[in-house]
Subunit: 464 residues, 2 copies
Amino acid sequence: MKYRQAVDEIRRELGDEAVSTDPDDLEYHGYSEFSTSNTDERPIAIVRPESTEQVSAIAKICTKYRVPMTPFGSKSSVEGSFSSPFSGICIDMCEMNKIVEFHPQDMDIVVQAGVNWMVLNEEIKDSGLFLPPDPGPTAFIGGMVATNCSGTNAMGYGTMKDYVVNLTVVLADGTIIKTRQRPRKTSAGYNLNSLFTGSEGTLGIITQATLKLAVLPTNLSVATAAFGSIHAAAAAASTMVRSGLPLIALELMDEEQMRSINKNGGTEGRMWDENPTLFLKFSGTVNSVKDSAKEAQAICRKHGSRTFESVSGQKEIDSLWSARKRALFAVFAAKPKDSVFWATDVAVPISRMADLIEESRARAAGYGIWNGVIGHAGDGNFHQALFYHPDKAGDKEKVKDCVDTMIERAVEMEGTVTGEHGIGIGKKECLVKELGLPTVGVMKALKDTLDPHWLLNPGKVFDE
Amino acid sequence: MKYRQAVDEIRRELGDEAVSTDPDDLEYHGYSEFSTSNTDERPIAIVRPESTEQVSAIAKICTKYRVPMTPFGSKSSVEGSFSSPFSGICIDMCEMNKIVEFHPQDMDIVVQAGVNWMVLNEEIKDSGLFLPPDPGPTAFIGGMVATNCSGTNAMGYGTMKDYVVNLTVVLADGTIIKTRQRPRKTSAGYNLNSLFTGSEGTLGIITQATLKLAVLPTNLSVATAAFGSIHAAAAAASTMVRSGLPLIALELMDEEQMRSINKNGGTEGRMWDENPTLFLKFSGTVNSVKDSAKEAQAICRKHGSRTFESVSGQKEIDSLWSARKRALFAVFAAKPKDSVFWATDVAVPISRMADLIEESRARAAGYGIWNGVIGHAGDGNFHQALFYHPDKAGDKEKVKDCVDTMIERAVEMEGTVTGEHGIGIGKKECLVKELGLPTVGVMKALKDTLDPHWLLNPGKVFDE
């Protein structure tokens, strides 16, 4: 009843065209086949605001009627961050897709939360600047900030939190705050940028952000190296990181991932060595990228690499990197009919990564479960993708055991239960295992302070 | 009375030798001639804990008796962060100076809060790793985290917040929390690292930290270039940043700063061009540092540099960089007898830096006040140092007007009232001017939540 009253009031405030209760629209906003964590509930309405002020108006109404608010970006979360376990209003940011101001001299840009990062980079490419974090291609800035996303560039450029200059945030009660002005560095007051970054919409709704930009590298080189084991590949990766090579990206794909590329026809006709493979990307001067590739080759050889290939022309780079780029699509193409995909990520101290990957692969193999690993090897962060047949008795439980055990082991190794996907719905218990009750207690106290009625994206990160 | 009871109870808990009420000790902990913000109050006792558990015991007692607690590091703050405006207990971290664990493979180190960063870097130098932030040479890790310090290396390596993997923090009520485990990246839960980093001891007492380390550069080159004006130097700096040169440091010293170096006898017999001068530091491969220096020279020439000198041997680097390194000492050596030093820092978008420096210099010159500027030009962050004679009528007021106006203008230019020093006592009103009441209100709400009796470093950042 009160939910309906809230929807009516939002309709009066924002206009009919901003509010949808179309069943397909509700379904679209409540479920994703790419997500490991779906719920049965759906939002009662989808609202598409066009400004921070409209988001504020929505928040005021939702707080008045005590209706949950779930911010919604491009739906690329795999942990259910956008779903509506307590129903309520889904706030779809797709209309807030404007680049507000671009300051090439200051190397920053002001954008609304619904801007897609690939569109942004395309728009500004002539300036020689770009936003480095490279998550799923559909992701919106708001969601990228909300989950502190990263991607392959995190090795060289850091994660999303490193690119937030300021945020405009609507609090639960509709108050609008701007966390900072536009300095590239500051020691003034508490770091609200970082508090909202990674809070998954549970502390406030991010409506606008000023983002740092980096200089597009003018010279790149890319290399691949195949190894006889994950351990050998990881050891080579670790040595490269310690050597100070100017790596932008340092990715690891296991033999199953490589096999799925080949099963999918290879890349541009090329078939790949089906062994654990490192993908390296360097930037620098014309001379230094060559020097770096040479040094990388020497390190890989020392660690017993079977192959080493390096290229520096843009076309050759795109071709060699395409295997890494197509990894997820290849896995989906190899997906057995009617099977369900479960992808998760953990991050551990670098010295423990190879052990955890080997363990996790062996456990799944013991169950006869198909699984593949892609790692952001420079950060100790990796993804294990698994498939199960929902109709096959015990299959899902086996996969769940694989995931749970990997997460528990990551915690034992002083790691984290998620390196870049976020907690969402599925990893709430894991968060407590990782950090303990006193630390999670502090987080909940902050939540209580900023969202006393727990209306902002409830059911995510932790429960009341 | 209750203060005395608290001291007695701490004495019983930690032992007599951990507690000092020696008047000289109290004075030492309550005043600094390098600080722009001193108060008349002194702590009632100095406590020197040896462990996180002892800090927790102190916090429990202070909360029980409602006694203020002021964490104290190496006293290098220039904004009075360590002073005790409400008296109470000063918690001196000097005995917590142990390196707890060093993980060279994971490129991190676990240290207590009282470790000095230069000692740390000396201890681990054989590993080829180092902690990049380079504030005042005496600074302790705890204070560096508490103020989100930086220094000349921030251009290439970022600020202290970028090096915090986890923190052990004692809350006001004595609860001990650890913010994270040891992953290099994470998206699990709220970013408590960044909340405590830069909070100046007002949200919790940092007792231990795990810090990321970087690879010591093997090849460096250093260059200096003198220009006819601040604007020309700043324009060259901006072009270099935009060109993507692998700059570790990009420093600016104005003509007054250069003059003070010469007045102080120059560096190793060398006298300097008394014009605005850029100091550049590059790292990379043997070839790339040469390439970078060449490119930098071309850019400086294009912007009308009068001189350009670049070197790459370690001895030559130390010699050329020494002018930058000795800047503060040179200024102090040039300090008129009985005058008082006032140094402050602001940061603005890079495109506005030259304007603000010129304005600020002109205002001080108009008053006949000696002043010099050192800038971290790559970050838009700079320091203006001014001297006044406390006995000369109106002199301090003139300096105060210079500082206040510079800060106001920085805010108008979308900058921050402090890029690396912190708010401390002196800039509380500025923080509100910079961020506005709603944003500062959120910060205060967080303070209320974590420190409901405002016992942790009260009187800093903002007032109740």
